[in-house]
C-alpha cells in the first residue's frame, strides 16, 4: 500500500483508465489504435488486482499473481491481434476500421 493513498483513489484511477480505454475503443477508427485502447483497459485491471491484493489481503498473493497472468495473456492476445490486423493490411492495404464492416445486417 501507498502511504496516504487509499484504495478508493487507486480504484478510481483504474476505473477512469478503464473507461478511457473503452472510450478509445468506441471512437477510434484505426484497428491498431483500438488495440491500444484495449491495452489501457488491461492495464487498469492489472493495477486493480495488484492494488486490491496489496490493500485488502496482502497475505495471499492471488491478485498479484493474477496480474502477472493478465500481462502474459495480454501479450499473447496482442500478438495474435496484430498478426491478423497486419494480414488484413496486406490484403487491403489499410487498417481503417471501415475495412471490417463488410459483414453486416
Amino acid at each position: 500500500m501507498i502511504e496516504g493513498v487509499s484504495l478508493f483513489e487507486i480504484m478510481s484511477l483504474t476505473t477512469i483508465l478503464f473507461f478511457i480505454g473503452i472510450y478509445g475503443f468506441l471512437t477510434r477508427t484505426n484497428l491498431i489504435a483500438m488495440l491500444m485502447s484495449l491495452e489501457l483497459m488491461v492495464n487498469a485491471e492489472a493495477i486493480n488486482f495488484v492494488a486490491i491484493n496489496k490493500y485488502l489481503s496482502p497475505a495471499v498473493l492471488q491478485g498479484q499473481v493474477f496480474s502477472l497472468f493478465i500481462i502474459a495473456l495480454a501479450a499473447a492476445e496482442t500478438a495474435l491481434a496484430l498478426a491478423i490486423i497486419l494480414h488484413l493490411y496486406r490484403l487491403t492495404t489499410t487498417i481503417d476500421v471501415k475495412e471490417v464492416e463488410e459483414l453486416k445486417y
Partner: protein, 474 residues
C-alpha cells in the same frame, strides 16, 4: 498428490498429449506424408473421445483450482464427441483448402487447444483458471476464424472476433477484479460464502455475466456472432455455435447454480429479461437472413435464449434440461451446419434461395437438413422437441408460465424461419438447382451419427435418465 489423483485430470492430460503428438508428427513427417496427419488426428482424437466417455471420479486438484465430477466429465465427453463429428465434417475442407498450404496439423492443434481451454474453463475452481481457460478456448479459435486467409471475409471475422473478444474479456476481468475486491478471493468456494452484494459487487458480477454472455452470444452481446459465423470457415462457425457456446453455457450454469447462489434473485431478473430479448431478437434477425450461415448464427442466438429459461429454475431439473438440451443441440446444429458446409464446399453457394429444389437433386442431404432444422425448431419425434420441452418444464417448475408463453410464441416464429430452408429445398423447384453430388465418406459418417442421435435420443429416454443420474451439482 500422486499419479492416481492426477488421473482425475485425465481428460486434459490426454488432450494435451494429443496436441503434443500432433506437434511432433508435424515436425517429423515428411512433406509427402503430411496428408496422413488428418487420419492420425482423427484416430488420436477418436481415442481420446472414447476415453472421455469412461467413468471418472470426483475430486479437486491444485488446491481446488481444478475440480472434476461426473457431470462435468461427461459433458466434456459430449463436447469432445461434438468436436469429433465436426472434425469428420471438416476432413474434406481440410484436404481441399488447407492441405496445399500444409496447415492441417496447425488446424488440429488449434482446435484441440480450444477444446482444452473449454475443459479447463468448465473445471475451473477459481477465476484465474476460469479466465485462462476462457482465453485458451477463444484465442486458437480466433486464429482459426481467420484461417481462410485468402478470404477477406474470414479475416474480417477474425479481426472482429479478436477485438470484441478482447473487450469482452477485459470487461469480464474488470468485473472479476471488482468481485475480488469485495469478496476478497478469486476462489469460487470462498466467493460463494462471501457474497454480500454491495453495488460494487453487483457491477462486478454483471460484468462477469457479460463476459460469459458474450461467449454464449446473448442479446445484447451477440452482435459479433452473426458476423463471425458468416465470415469464418463453416467448420469453425459450427464449432463456435455449439462447442464453445456449450462450454460457456455450462460455466454460466455452474456459476449461477453453485457459486453465485446468493445472487439468485437479481440473476433471475437479468435472466428473465435477457432470455426474452435473446429469443425475440435472435428470431427477428434470423427471419430475414439469406445467408445460411448467418441464418444459423441467429438461430443459435435464439436457442441460447431458450437455454436461459432453464437457467431460471436453479434446481436439478434445470441442470438436466440444460445438459440434455446442449447434447441435442450439438447434434442438431452440427448436422445443419454440416449440410451448409458440404454444399458450400461443393458449390460455393450459401444462400437459402440457392437451395431451391435441393430435394430433387440431393434428397438425403435435404432430409438431413430438414430433420436438423426440425430438431432446432423443436418438433417431435426429433430429439429437439424433448430437449425444448424439458427446458420449458424447468422454467415451469418455478412457475414462470408467462415466460414460457413468450418462449413458445417465439418457437412459433422460429418455426417460420426454420421452415424457410425446408421450403426452399422441398417445396420449390429451381432452374439451376444444386447439382447432385456425393458427399465424402467422413461427412456421411458424421451425418449418420447426427441423424441417429436426433432420432434416437428423444424417443429413447436412457440418455436423459443417465444425465439426470449425475446432475446433482449442488
Amino acid at each position: 498428490m500422486n499419479l492416481d489423483s492426477l488421473m482425475l485430470m485425465r481428460d486434459e492430460w490426454f488432450l494435451t498429449a494429443v496436441i503434443m503428438l500432433l506437434l511432433i508428427a508435424e515436425v517429423l513427417l515428411s512433406a509427402k506424408n503430411k496428408k496422413y496427419i488428418i487420419q492420425l488426428a482423427l484416430i488420436l482424437f477418436g481415442a481420446y473421445t472414447i476415453s472421455a466417455f469412461l467413468p471418472n471420479d470426483t475430486g479437486a486438484l491444485f488446491g481446488s483450482s481444478y475440480k472434476t465430477y461426473p457431470l462435468v466429465h461427461y459433458f466434456k465427453a459430449i463436447l469432445a464427441f461434438g468436436v469429433f463429428i465436426i472434425l469428420l465434417q471438416s476432413v474434406n475442407w481440410l484436404k481441399e483448402k488447407l492441405l496445399p498450404y500444409d496447415f492441417t496439423a496447425e488446424f488440429f492443434i488449434l482446435i484441440f487447444s480450444s477444446l482444452l481451454g473449454l475443459n479447463f474453463m468448465m473445471s475451473a475452481g477459481d477465476f484465474l483458471m476460469f479466465y485462462i481457460g476462457l482465453e485458451l478456448s477463444t484465442m486458437p479459435i480466433i486464429a482459426l476464424t481467420a484461417f481462410e486467409f485468402w478470404n477477406h471475409r474470414s479475416v474480417e471475422a477474425g479481426v472482429k472476433y479478436i477485438l470484441l473478444a478482447s473487450i469482452s474479456s477485459a470487461i469480464l476481468l474488470f468485473g472479476v477484479s471488482l468481485v475480488y475486491a469485495t469478496a476478497g478471493s478469486i476462489n469460487f468456494d470462498v466467493i460463494k460464502n462471501a457474497l454480500q452484494l454491495p453495488l460494487l459487487e453487483i457491477i462486478g458480477l454483471i460484468m462477469i455475466f457479460i463476459g460469459i454472455g458474450f461467449k454464449i452470444s446473448l442479446v445484447p452481446f451477440h452482435f459479433w456472432a452473426a458476423d463471425v459465423y458468416e465470415g469464418a470457415p463453416t467448420v469453425i462457425s459450427n464449432y463456435l455455435s455449439v462447442i464453445s457456446k456449450g462450454g460457456a453455457v455450462y460455466v454460466l450454469m455452474t456459476l449461477l447454480f453453485v457459486t453465485f447462489t446468493a445472487f439468485q434473485k437479481e440473476w433471475n431478473w437479468i435472466m428473465y429479461g435477457t432470455a426474452i430479448l435473446t429469443m425475440v431478437v435472435g428470431n427477428l434477425f434470423a427471419l430475414r437472413q439469406q445467408n445460411m450461415k448467418r441464418f444459423l448464427a441467429f438461430s443459435s442466438i435464439a436457442q441460447a435464449g431458450f437455454i436461459l429459461l432453464a437457467m431460471l429454475s436453479n434446481n436439478e431439473l434445470g441442470v438436466k434440461a440444460i445438459i440434455y438440451f446442449l447434447l441435442i443441440y450439438i447434434f442438431s446444429n452440427v448436422a445443419a451446419f454440416g449440410v451448409v458446409h458440404v454444399i458450400s464446399l461443393k458449390t460455393g453457394k450459401e444462400n437459402i434461395d440457392d437451395y431451391n429444389g435441393l430435394y430433387r437433386t440431393n434428397p438425403k442431404l435435404s432430409l438431413v437438413l430438414m430433420i436438423a432444422l426440425f430438431s432446432l425448431a423443436g418438433i417431435p419425434p426429433v430429439a429437439g422437441f424433448f430437449a425444448k420441452f424439458f427446458l420449458y418444464a424447468a422454467a415451469a417448475s418455478k412457475g414462470y408460465y408467462v415466460l414460457i408463453f413468450i418462449a413458445v410464441l417465439n418457437v412459433t416464429v422460429s418455426l417460420y424461419y426454420y421452415l424457410l430452408p425446408v421450403r426452399a429445398a422441398f417445396l420449390r423447384v429451381s432452374d439451376h438447382p444444386i447439382p447432385f453430388f456425393k458427399s465424402d465418406n467422413y461427412s456421411r459418417l458424421a451425418f449418420i451419427i447426427t441423424m441417429i442421435g436426433l432420432l434416437v435420443l428423444g424417443l429413447y429416454s436412457g440418455v436423459f435418465e443417465f444425465i439426470s443420474g449425475i446432475s446433482n451439482i449442488f
